[in-house]
């Protein structure tokens, strides 16, 4: 068969790291080709070479049978290859239609034709079933909507090959269905999609063929029909993993945390719940249900309209994150890049950010302690880095998340809130985090996990709370976990 894209014997070295070792990949026009592998396996590097962000050390690429080399993403796009990145960076103060056409504005007589852009944008938005106006500012849209707009952007370039890196990380199931129907349409029209994701169900739902990378080499390429979840995991990790969601036994004790009547205007409506030591409490719901808003309100980041918080039965007043930390709480946010990490800081400075006062005497910092503690946590959490002075912005998503969690663990909290802790992280690292959560509750802590992946919550939680449009609509015990039940509590009128 004729390939639209052939990457032949690609190798790429970075100082001290062999990122790709003789990797070959063939893409057929009109197929959805999944690219899988753990973090650090080389998927991103391979795609960045395709997009002209990196240059390969050896090997060649053929596009439509002709030699292809892009020196920058612009050239890649001009050749019909476009990419939707894992970490979004839309320009938030620009309206939707400008964002979509940025860099390739529609011109009439040398001047930008705004009306044509707005019309085209309207058509694309309607096509995708989005209730968004071309003039809306991205600042006012949800993460999910922003992601769909990135997808629209790539589609509108009339690319022949579209690379999608974790496109469904922050969108709901309903939106995933819409996306997939579009992907199928594109494929039917001859466009090839290279699909990178860690979500197994989706991979099997949408892909025709799957390629697995591990440690910079290609392990296998096969029809999706010939593979299953276990086989994939084995290929990705190099060993058999029997349980994806390890559930460790922990004794569930007394109520350590209680929230009563938590309300935030328009966002959270009168939510009350209890949390016990040793418990993992899941928090499910559609995007916009108010889960993050609930936790941020409790944590003192945003003001509560009403509500009381009790820890060990005693009322606590939390007006700021500092108060919350003092009371024994920790919050690992959903958006690690903006609110979890200092990207220009080192691993050490990030890990010690919350507990810096404890690592000092009379306000003078003890550098020795900082070094020791940072190395401890790098080891404990298996953070892949040459040193504690590595700038955090250079780490992979999974390792970055580990740094954030390390920061909070160092402050020795009793109650830990984790908001989408495994978003955009590969299977191996995810498992590490589940095990970690298990260890935490075993040692007597209490954990709330917010997640949009219901199977994940069902795998590790003791109970699951569900929110919808700011209300707490249901609580389900582990014995009665079912996807349908949870989804029904979560469903309300559509976005």
């Amino acid at each position: 068969m004729e390939y639209i894209l052939e990457m032949k014997h690609i190798s790429k070295n970075f100082p001290g790291v062999k990122a790709l070792d003789d990797v070959s990949l063939q893409i057929v026009p009109g197929e959805v080709h999944a690219l899988m592998g753990e973090n650090g396996a080389g998927k991103s590097t391979l795609m960045k070479i395709l997009m002209g962000i990196y240059t390969s050390d050896s090997g060649e690429i053929l596009l439509n049978g002709k030699p292809y080399k892009a020196r920058n993403p612009r050239e890649a796009m001009d050749n019909g290859i476009s990419m939707i990145h894992q970490e979004l960076s839309p320009i938030v103060d620009m309206p939707v239609y400008e964002n979509i056409f940025v860099g390739r504005e529609i011109r009439k007589n040398g001047i930008v034709d705004k009306n044509a852009e707005i019309e085209e944008t309207r058509r694309l938005l309607e096509d995708l079933g989005m209730h968004v106006s071309p003039n809306d500012l991205l600042r006012n849209l949800s993460v999910a909507q922003c992601q769909l707009i990135e997808i629209i952007k790539a589609i509108s370039i009339n690319a022949k090959v579209i690379i999608m890196d974790e496109p469904t990380a922050a969108i709901t199931d309903k939106e995933v269905d819409i996306l997939f129907s579009h992907i199928k349409k594109l494929a039917a029209g001859g466009v090839a999609i290279i699909y990178i994701s860690h979500r197994m169900e989706e991979i099997f739902q949408i892909s025709d063929r799957i390629t697995v990378l591990r440690d910079g080499t290609r392990i296998n390429t096969d029809e999706a029909a010939n593979l299953n979840r276990d086989k994939l995991i084995t290929m990705m990790v190099g060993r058999e993993i029997t349980d994806i969601y390890p559930k460790m036994e922990a004794t569930i004790g007394d109520v350590v945390f209680e929230a009563k009547n938590i309300s935030r205007k328009g966002l959270v409506k009168d939510v009350s719940f209890q949390l016990r030591t040793g418990e993992i409490l899941g928090l499910s719901g559609l995007i916009g249900a108010g889960r993050s808003e609930l936790l941020e309100g409790i944590f003192g980041v945003s003001k509560l309209e009403r509500g009381e918080i009790f820890i060990h039965g005693k009322k606590v007043n939390i007006h700021s994150p500092k108060d919350a930390i003092k009371a024994g709480l920790a919050l690992v946010t959903e958006d690690r890049k903006n609110s979890g990490l200092n990207l220009v800081g080192t691993i050490a400075s990030n890990i010690t950010m919350v507990s810096i006062a404890d690592l000092s005497k009379n306000s003078i910092v003890n550098d020795g302690k900082i070094r020791k503690v940072s190395d401890e946590y790098i080891d404990k959490m298996k953070i892949k880095t040459p040193s504690r002075d590595q700038v955090v912005g250079n780490l992979s998503g999974g390792n970055q998340q580990k740094v954030v969690i390390a920061k909070w663990l160092l402050s020795n909290p009793e109650i830990i809130f984790l908001d989408e802790p495994t978003r955009g992280i590969d299977v191996g690292a995810k498992r590490d985090i589940y095990l970690l959560i298990g260890e935490l509750v075993k040692s007597g802590k209490a954990v709330i996990v917010v997640s949009s992946e219901i199977p994940e919550l069902m795998g590790i939680c003791d109970r699951i709370m569900i929110m919808a449009e700011g209300n707490l609509t249901g609580i389900v015990e582990r014995a009665e976990f079912s996807q349908e039940k949870i989804m029904s509590y979560a469903s309300t009128i559509s976005v």
Binding site: A324, S339, G340, N342, V344, G345, S360, V391
Partner: protein, 319 residues
């Protein structure tokens, strides 16, 4: 996991600290071109001429690292210089104008900090406002005329020497540098300043009182300006209402040349010291060679661009 033993990597140290190289090269070149440049008395001059900008730069460093920006310090130098002159006529002990000057600096800095932290005004706008208002205040307080007649003792504050010919100004500069360096690198507060600059949101979520840090850095910066105003009056022997004009530009330049990122979160104190010295060396060298001062501006501009490019490039290569 492998942990490399951290031996001193000279090569990458040089790459990171390109500015030190530029500085050393410049000094060598200037000494070669003009024998007068390297004479001890001239080097003493350079120290004297660096001191005031140096002190201002140390204060500005805190603000920029925290993610902010202060345009008002030139005006603060002017106002505090006048207040110092009015109190420096010999009628009260010198400690009075010194302390009052610094306190007024603190007050103005506090106002900047509150406007930015609680009023949510962008630093550019807030400090532009205080810059303008305080320059007006300087003119009002002085009636548009320079304040003259400061005491001999006050004049000695900036023109005297310690044993072996080291000027007092250099001593003050060194003291300020030591304090600033210590606070920035060795205290909890210093770490939090870096954290705020790196990501204000993350700092907030991590329990840092971001507003307090903001108010603190602007206060520190303006206190340095108050001290600088006190010294400038002593040095020039008058408290001029127009004194300090554009001093904020040189302070910012020193920081930028010294590797402090305008985005906040990064920067080393020794870089800023070198940056301040570099500016004085350029000015001094050109004066000694008899080259017009207008060239200084061109050269300063070129060095800013080169220094930042070198910095960005070396950071890029690391990725």
């Amino acid at each position: 996991m492998e942990k490399k033993e951290k031996s001193f990597d000279f090569k990458s140290f040089l790459k990171d600290q390109g500015i030190i190289i530029i500085f050393i090269v410049l000094v060598i070149v200037l000494s070669a071109i003009s024998p007068n440049f390297a004479r001890p008395k001239n080097l003493v001059n350079i120290l004297k001429q660096t001191a005031i900008n140096g002190i201002l730069s140390m204060g500005m460093m805190f603000v920029i690292i925290s993610g902010g920006f202060d345009l008002s310090i030139g005006s603060i130098v002017g106002v505090c210089g006048i207040i110092s002159a009015m109190l420096g006529l010999g009628q009260v002990p010198l400690i009075v104008p010194l302390v009052v000057s610094i306190l007024f600096g603190c007050l103005f800095g506090f106002i900047n900090g509150v406007g930015i932290a609680y009023g949510n005004l962008p630093p550019f706008i807030m400090t532009l406002g205080t810059m303008t208002a305080l320059r007006g205040l300087a003119l009002v307080l002085s009636g548009g005329q320079p304040v003259t007649g400061i005491s001999e003792a006050y004049m000695k504050v900036a023109s005297g020497f310690v044993f072996g010919g080291v000027p007092y100004l250099a001593v003050y500069f060194v003291i300020v540098v030591l304090i600033a360096a210590f606070v920035l690198t060795k205290t909890v507060f210093g770490r939090r300043v870096y954290a705020c600059g790196g990501s204000m949101l993350t700092a907030r979520f991590s329990g840092i009182n971001v507003k307090a840090i903001q108010i603190a850095v602007y206060t520190i910066c303006a206190a340095c300006a108050g001290f600088a105003g006190f010294l400038l009056t002593s040095r020039t022997s008058v408290g001029a209402p127009t004194a300090g004009e554009s001093y904020e530009m040189d302070a910012i330049t020193s920081c930028v040349i010294g590797g402090v990122s305008m985005a906040g979160g990064t920067g080393r104190w020794y870089g800023v010291v070198i940056g301040a010295l570099l500016i004085s060396v350029i000015a001094n060298g050109l004066d000694v060679m008899g080259v017009s001062s207008h060239w200084q501006k061109i050269i300063k501009g070129i060095i800013i661009v080169v220094a930042v490019l070198a910095d960005v490039n070396s950071k890029d290569k690391k990725n």
